[in-house]
């Protein structure tokens, strides 16, 4: 991507994110969201994060890739287990990255 386009992309995200943060703080409580929208917003993080994680783990180079060619699914499963038990981001990163290095190096 050209650097001018990249700057515009970052600017658009920055301004858009600021407007999301400002929305109700600026409007105060003059606006009330319908229930279905509020519930929908509640599930946005889980849906988007999963939609980002799954392809990056299962299709790192576009094509579907499973072990033994691609150890990312195994490393990610280990990391998910650690995240679930510990709720610790640093430990999750360490186990996931370490797992991938070990599996890539040994197998």
């Amino acid at each position: 991507m050209a650097s001018g386009t990249l700057a515009l992309v970052i600017l658009a995200i920055g301004v858009g994110t600021f407007l999301e943060r400002l929305s109700f703080i600026h409007l105060s409580d003059r606006l009330v969201l319908p229930r279905v929208v509020r519930r929908g917003l509640h599930y946005v993080p889980a849906a988007v994060l999963a939609a980002l994680v799954a392809p990056a783990v299962l299709r790192p180079e576009t094509a579907l890739a499973l072990p033994p060619g691609n150890w990312r699914p195994v490393a990610a499963a280990l990391a998910a287990l650690v995240a679930w038990r510990s709720r610790n981001m640093l430990l999750t990163l360490a186990v996931g990255m370490g797992g991938l290095w070990l599996l890539d190096g040994l197998l």
Binding site: L22, F24, A47, V48, L58
Partner: protein
């Protein structure tokens, strides 16, 4: 001034235990962005201009994948839609703040500043309005300084990490660490399962449409699950 009683410094003190979790996240964000080929100035511009880790990481991942600009912008703004929710529940506590000061306070809004402030407001319902906004400012400004410092450190060593170490894999791992604690009830599990499944199936589609479709399908699946079993117990 007695700093033990000043709400701003109470905010600074309360956010301190969260910083060991925030700082590595900021370092990874700076380092992966630099490794993806962005200039140090661009990485810093992203950190200050967007100031939201998950969307910064998603932007880097999608840039690497060659996604078209509007998909990158839409994805980042979708990730940050949660700020609209936060904004709505913080609004009544900020109603006394003059408009020109609401803007910088809104810019500084993060998951951590929101969570700490709402917890404090909940436990001290009678607190004067001016104390509330000063407490919030203490948590939020500390987060900003930590985020920028962490990104700078990441820029410092990001260029020195060998490509063989697959540092980019840290991006989905970070998302995983953010995602797993959310999976506490059936509708949220459905949102993640359907969102991830559709995104994988649609990964080959042009313009990275699979991501947008996955997110939309995940949200719809969660709403349907919720409607079918309104009081389903958490698994």
């Amino acid at each position: 001034m007695d700093t033990r009683k000043e709400p701003f410094w109470e905010g600074v003190r309360d956010v301190a235990p969260l910083l060991p979790g925030v700082f590595p996240f900021a370092v990874i964000t700076g380092a992966t962005a630099l490794q993806a080929g962005l200039s140090p100035e661009t990485v810093l511009g992203m950190a200050a201009g967007i100031f939201a880790g998950a969307s910064q990481l998603a932007t880097v991942q999608l840039l690497k994948a060659g996604a078209v600009p509007w998909v990158i912008v839409a994805t980042a703004l979708l990730i940050n839609l949660r700020f609209v929710m936060y904004s709505a529940s913080l609004a009544p506590h900020m109603a006394h703040v003059p408009t020109y000061r609401r803007w910088p306070l809104a810019y500084l809004l993060t998951d951590q500043a929101y969570a700490l402030s709402m917890a404090r407001f909940h436990h001290r319902p009678g607190e004067p309005a001016g104390h509330k906004s000063r407490y919030y400012a203490g948590t939020a400004l500390t987060m900003w300084v930590s985020w920028m410092t962490g990104n700078l450190v990441g820029i410092g060593f990001g260029g020195r990490v060998p490509a063989a170490l697959s540092l980019q894999f840290a991006i989905p791992l970070t998302f995983l660490a953010l995602l797993v604690p959310l999976l506490r009830d059936r509708p949220t599990l459905m949102a993640a399962a359907v969102g991830g499944g559709v995104a994988v199936a649609g990964d080959g589609l042009p313009f990275n449409l699979g991501l947008v479709l996955g997110a939309g399908a995940g949200i719809a699946a969660a709403l349907v699950t919720e409607a079918l079993r309104p009081d389903a117990p958490a698994p």
